[in-house]
């Protein structure tokens, strides 16, 4: 009989980390590193329909991208979407989390219902809001018209100045509960002592929120912003279902543009280039945020 020090098991000891890391390393190499390098390689090629193969185009995709006004417009739309939706979801998420941070009867149930929107596929949510915002049959359009907020001849999703807001509504509705859940988890794990001391010192609720809750929650908020921020930057489903990027290019996000170039027009190289630039932008923004927010992992 072999002992662990003699057979293959001798490699699986606590002081030898490499064998334990091997499975994950293989997975990462296969599903992260290889696609990334393949994407970089692809960005210097383009599919030639007549030759039925990828051909080397050098830096053409990159130079085209720099001059592509549609791409930069889509970056602009994505940025607006990113900042507005993120701000709304963080603020609303925090407000609702503060309201639900209670042990009174019924609050547990309310917290449980928050998960409901998260289990609905985004494409279905997009379809729901598409119908709700329909100028003929939509309940939301009807309500806004009844309140005098919306003109009867103004279709929300077909009006350039309103379309992006119409799409944002769907996102905020679906993902604010996600922020609430994260914030609630943070709030409920805060130590009670500082708050008790503050109360004894006569601090107001707002002072306690600003001086205690926010600083203590900083890391949780930062993580939530990071996760949602990355998600928001690659938002696709809602615009695809609700507006197809229109009217005109008013809601064309960078993900939709990359998808269109890659799959509708079979420009695989150009699509890869757009995706890489998007990745670079996300990395820069995320690192900038980590530095500014002084998040330490």
């Amino acid at each position: 009989m072999m002992t662990p020090t003699q057979g293959p098991g001798r490699w699986l000891t606590w002081d030898r980390p490499l064998p334990w890391l091997l499975p994950l390393t293989v997975v990462l190499l296969l599903f992260t590193v290889y696609p990334l390098f393949y994407n970089i390689w692809l960005s210097f090629h383009e599919y030639a329909p007549l030759k039925r193969q990828l051909v080397w185009v050098g830096g053409k995709n990159w130079s085209t991208l720099l001059e592509d006004t549609r791409f930069w417009q889509s970056i602009g739309v994505t940025m607006v979407y990113f900042f507005v939706v993120l701000a709304l979801e963080v603020v609303l998420g925090m407000l609702i989390a503060l309201l639900l941070d209670s042990d009174e009867p019924g609050f547990g149930f309310l917290r449980g219902t928050l998960t409901l929107t998260l289990v609905v596929p985004p494409a279905v949510v997009g379809m729901m809001f598409l119908l709700m915002e329909d100028p003929e049959f939509g309940v939301l359009s009807y309500a806004l018209k009844s309140l005098g907020i919306l003109d009867s001849s103004t279709p929300i999703l077909s009006t350039p100045s309103l379309a992006l807001t119409g799409v944002m509504l769907a996102d905020v509705w679906q993902w604010t509960p996600f922020m609430v859940l994260i914030f609630l988890a943070g709030l409920r794990s805060l130590p009670a002592e500082p708050f008790e001391a503050a109360m004894l010192d006569g601090a107001s609720a707002f002072q306690m929120f600003r001086r205690l809750t926010l600083p203590l929650m900083a890391k949780v908020i930062a993580v939530a912003i990071l996760i949602r921020g990355i998600d928001l930057f690659r938002m696709f489903d809602y615009v695809y279902v609700m507006t197809s990027g229109g009217p005109g290019t008013a809601t064309y996000t960078v993900s939709l543009y990359a998808w269109q170039q890659t799959f509708s027009f079979i420009k695989w190289g150009y699509g890869a280039t757009i995706s890489l630039v998007t990745l670079i932008i996300i990395l820069i923004m995320a690192n900038l945020f980590i530095r500014l927010a002084k998040v330490r992992w």
Binding site: L54, T243, S244, G245, P247, T249, F265
Partner: protein, 502 residues
């Protein structure tokens, strides 16, 4: 069981299914127990979405079955291919849905082959085909080819005439390639001298209008563009916002918007390209078309600029719009009282006549065929990468033969056939009455194919031009982002030049 009991049971079974008291699975199971099987399935009752098609009494009386001769032929020639699996990626169209949901089991039973049909959005079909061709994997044995892709894929599929000649022992008796409507062969399933498969389906623009509203207003079906506009305007002014005179598929950036544009463009004597391959949508005829379309748009519901064909069809079905110059395949659903508020109230006619003489094919570029009846047909073809091209050819012949097309048309909800003989088939004519799955519009469809059909140009860049370059800018125009139609069309011309230059 006595014959009379059997009939009574069948009528009862049909009645329960038609009234949705039992689901399709239960219906088929009980029909099978009764020994009806194919008879009941083929009685013109069901369509892919599970809605009943014809009345209980009629269903109980009539039997539609696949031809026993054809199934015998399938059985005979398929012997060497038993156990083969064939794959097809297709858009969700009536023929594909009817075959997938209802008719495929007959072929599979007779041939011993398995047929896998992937129903996908159109752009995903294109994506899968392109990947399949680029990789030469032969994942798909058959390709569903939209008419606008014919140029791109003409060399990747077999010409059915070559297949017939090369393997006469596999040719279906009386398949008759000449039975396909020549206009569809030219406009949908050929590029240069090659046939790119055979015409498979033919959605085409016809005029559909509310007979009751037209009678109330003292109108007759419009025969000219201007008459159509005047009627639409009058209806909107008198009955709006409850009912509008016209409707459309005008969602910004969507292919449907480009489809509407071409109908008005061609109808005003314009064309997308000239014989030199330059964009001409911004010439005088193009601007006249835009002027007309802008006026007509003002008679449509406000939501029209957010609708694709689905919204457009719904606006008529829900009684919001009184007319629609669009896809004829919507018509049967308008007659279905379960899906529409206007059952029996709609009438089909040919599209209004063009304002001026149409441009000839010689005056346009890339094989563009001007005509107010915009067609969006597709073909079915065997892939040259298929590992089982002979087996796929057998399936293709069965799927597109006259008998199967009759069943597709009757079971598939009144979709337009691509074969001449199917339009005259008694089983198809028998469904020409008010009700779900009606075929009473097919005479208009056939006349439109013969006289009014318009086809888009065939060029590799067309996917980008028709799905993005043109409809995005048209969308901007209708959203008020251009100062004038001329400004919009000039911008489109510049953008088209950029795409064409690569």
């Amino acid at each position: 069981m006595k014959d009379s009991d059997k009939k009574r049971y069948r009528a009862d079974l049909v009645g329960r299914y038609v009234n949705r008291q039992i689901d399709r699975r239960t219906f088929l199971k009980q029909a099978g127990l009764l020994g009806l099987g194919a008879g009941v399935l083929g009685s013109g009752l069901v369509r892919p979405d599970g809605l009943p098609l014809i009345s209980q009494a009629r269903a109980a009386e009539e039997v539609l079955q696949p031809s026993a001769d054809i199934l015998a032929w399938v059985k005979e020639v398929s012997a060497p291919f038993k156990g083969t699996t064939l794959k097809l990626a297709t858009e969700s169209t009536p023929p594909s849905n009817a075959i997938n949901a209802l008719l495929k089991p007959y072929f599979e039973e007779a041939s011993g082959m398995k047929v896998e049909i992937e129903v996908l959005p159109l752009e995903q079909v294109l994506q899968k085909m392109t990947l399949d061709i680029a990789s030469s994997l032969g994942t798909y044995d058959l390709y569903y080819i939209d008419q606008s892709w014919a140029a791109s894929f003409s060399n990747d599929v077999f010409d059915p005439r070559e297949q017939t000649e090369a393997k006469p022992e596999l040719a279906m008796p009386d398949y008759n390639l000449d039975d396909f409507l020549p206009a569809l062969v030219d406009g949908v399933a050929s590029y240069g001298d090659r046939w790119v498969g055979v015409p498979y389906d033919i959605p085409i623009f016809i005029m559909m209008y509310r007979k009751d509203i037209y009678e109330q207003m003292g109108f007759k079906a419009p025969t000219t563009m201007e008459e159509y506009y005047t009627q639409a305007k009058a209806i909107t002014e008198q009955m709006g916002p409850k009912l509008y005179g016209a409707t459309g598929q005008m969602k910004s950036g969507h292919y449907s918007l480009e489809c509407d544009w071409t109908a008005w463009l061609w109808g005003h004597g314009g064309s997308i390209f000239n014989k030199d391959g330059r964009f001409t949508g911004h010439d005088d005829a193009g601007l006249a078309a835009m002027d007309y379309w802008t006026r007509l748009w003002k008679t449509m519901p406000p939501g029209v600029i957010g609708w694709t064909w689905d919204g457009e069809g719904q606006s008529v079905a829900q009684g919001v719009a009184a007319t629609m110059m669009s896809w004829g395949e919507f018509f049967p659903s308008f007659d279905d009282p379960a899906a529409s508020k206007v059952s029996g109230l709609m009438e089909p006619v040919r599209c209004p006549a063009p304002v001026t003489k149409l441009r000839t094919v010689e005056e346009t570029g890339f094989g563009e065929i001007p005509g107010v009846g915009h067609q969006g047909g597709s073909s079915l073809a065997v892939s040259k990468n298929s590992k089982n091209p002979d087996a796929a050819w057998i399936f293709m012949q069965w799927a597109t033969c006259a008998d199967t097309q009759v069943l597709i048309t009757t079971l598939g909800g009144g979709t337009g056939p691509t074969r001449r003989s199917v339009y005259d088939d008694p089983r198809v004519l028998a469904n020409a009455r008010v009700g779900p799955g009606t075929t009473r519009h097919l005479s208009v469809v056939r006349e439109t194919i013969d006289k009014d059909m318009g086809s888009e140009p065939d060029l590799p860049q067309w996917a980008e031009l028709s799905n993005d370059t043109i409809p995005v800018r048209l969308g901007k125009y209708f959203a008020g982002e251009y100062g004038s139609a001329k400004e919009a069309m000039d911008d489109i011309a510049r953008a088209v030049d950029v795409v064409m230059a690569g």
